[in-house]
């Protein structure tokens, strides 16, 4: 957990699909659109590859916010992966909120390979929202 002089710095883990959102993140880089260094990306082939277990595990190990980013509906490189992801994470998100986890902490977004600015904006927004919430203690391991 990076804590700087300014106080609490959240850790954001982003699962990005290789074809759209990871390319969007790269484009944010090539077009120099800054976002906080709190964000760390894990590259997956498709949002449909993201297992809810990975998300819970990230929260357990200290992530304060988790993002799953994939291609826009209809644009999935694998045709249907993001549609399955949309169903899975729709109910997972409702469940987490029902259990009392703040909705801002777990986000799903569609970011295309041409949306570098959007990637950057989403990361800024997510980091700020989570920063306001403070540290994730609810799903975090005690040790």
């Amino acid at each position: 957990m990076p804590v700087t002089r300014e106080g609490f710095e959240p850790l954001i883990v982003a699962f990005c699909c290789n074809w759209c959102s990871y390319a969007g993140a790269d484009l944010a880089g090539t077009s120099r659109q800054p976002y906080p260094s709190n964000v760390r990306v894990i590259r997956v082939p498709c949002s449909g590859r993201v297992n809810p277990s990975f998300i819970i595990r990230a929260f357990q190990r200290g992530a304060d916010g988790v993002l799953v980013a994939g291609c826009h509906p209809g644009d999935c490189h694998y045709h249907s992966g993001n549609y399955h992801a949309r169903r899975r994470f729709t109910i997972l998100k409702q469940l987490l909120e029902y259990l009392g986890i703040e909705p801002e902490r777990f986000q799903v977004r569609w970011i295309s390979g041409s949306e570098g600015a959007k990637f950057s904006a989403v990361m800024n927004e997510l980091t700020e929202n989570v920063r306001k919430l403070g540290q994730n203690r609810k799903l975090r391991d005690a040790r």
Partner: protein, 323 residues
């Protein structure tokens, strides 16, 4: 002895005697008045032990997984809830329809021993039997009749399918659905959902804190029928071994997620939980969301349909910010 039990015995004895099946799953009476565990009957002569009483609540369906490995065809008695478990196994390809002979038992609900104990002194109760709409409570010093409806298990109060949805033979006439179940089905979920977010967390943290990770909820659940459960695997270690609240939440979230769209609301997980965790409130929350986002769906009614988490529609709404 009630005619219901007699009908069970006769059906089982007949099926075993003529060789239609080599094993029948039902219930038998055990040492205490509130115990009616699952019985395994392999010969017509043993059918006498079968009993169908206010406590024949256990779902015998999960035993079919092992039973069908060493028996070509197994007879099984099922209540409405149990029968949906059969469809669960059929849909999950864990069972073939020809492997089972299903005796359907329309069921107007099973009794909650705790509710009986709350009214009658536990030491005095010797037997509780169903007589029509009433429970006959035999005490050490006499007997009393009470309305069975007042002593129903929580899960039976919200039962939408008291009659078996799949069977070969129905042992008696179907029973009506209890009035008001549709309202009460999600009442508890809604009351939790209405709490403030921190209150919700505190509520669930208090519940999960009691979890001893005995996995009884998983073991009893016919939807949890994997050959090897991820929670038992070592590499990757999906679930930590520490009895830590975060690990418990991990377990409970993923367990609920794995039965999402597949849970058919038998409520055995919650009834059997030694820590009294209201697991149905999680399962039903998922059912609510599935109904809301993907269209109404009830699992276990039709083994031929497609569970909502294996399919999709292009125009599905998202339960998150899609902007």
């Amino acid at each position: 002895m009630s005619t219901a039990s007699e009908k069970l015995r006769a059906s089982a004895a007949e099926a075993l005697a003529c060789g239609r099946v080599s094993l029948v799953l039902g219930w038998r009476k055990k040492d205490f008045w509130w115990q009616s565990p699952v019985a395994f009957v392999e010969a017509a002569a043993e059918a006498e032990q079968l009993s169908f009483d206010p406590f024949s609540v256990y779902n015998p369906v999960k035993y079919l997984l092992e039973a069908t490995e060493c028996h070509e065809k197994v007879g099984v008695f099922v209540k409405g809830c149990d029968s949906r478990g059969i469809n669960r196994l059929l849909q999950d390809k864990r069972l073939e329809r020809e492997q089972v002979l299903i005796f359907g038992l329309p069921c107007s609900g099973k009794a909650d021993p705790a509710k009986i104990r709350a009214v009658f002194p536990a030491q005095k109760i010797r037997e509780v039997a169903q007589e029509g709409e009433e429970l006959l409570v035999r005490l050490t010093d006499g007997q009393e009749r009470v309305a069975a409806a007042d002593f129903l298990l929580e899960k039976c109060l919200t039962c939408r399918h008291p009659n078996p949805v799949v069977f070969d033979e129905l042992l008696w006439e179907p029973v009506p659905v209890r009035a008001g179940v549709d309202v009460s089905r999600f009442a508890r979920v809604n009351s939790v959902a209405q709490k403030e977010i921190l209150e919700r967390y505190t509520y669930w943290a208090r519940q999960f804190d009691r979890c001893i990770r005995c996995f009884a909820c998983r073991n009893t659940c016919p939807a949890c029928n994997c050959r090897s459960c991820i929670f038992d695997q070592a590499e990757p270690r999906w679930l930590g071994k520490a009895s830590d609240l975060a690990d418990t939440m991990n377990y409970q979230i993923i367990r609920a997620f794995h039965v999402a769209g597949r849970c058919f609301e038998c409520g055995e997980c919650e009834r059997i939980c030694p820590a009294g965790i209201p697991l149905q409130e999680m399962n039903r929350r998922l059912i609510m969301d599935i109904d809301k986002y993907f269209g109404p769906y009830e699992a276990g009614l039709d083994a031929g349909d497609s569970p909502p988490l294996g399919t999709y529609r292009g125009e599905d709404p998202a339960g998150f910010d899609e902007s």
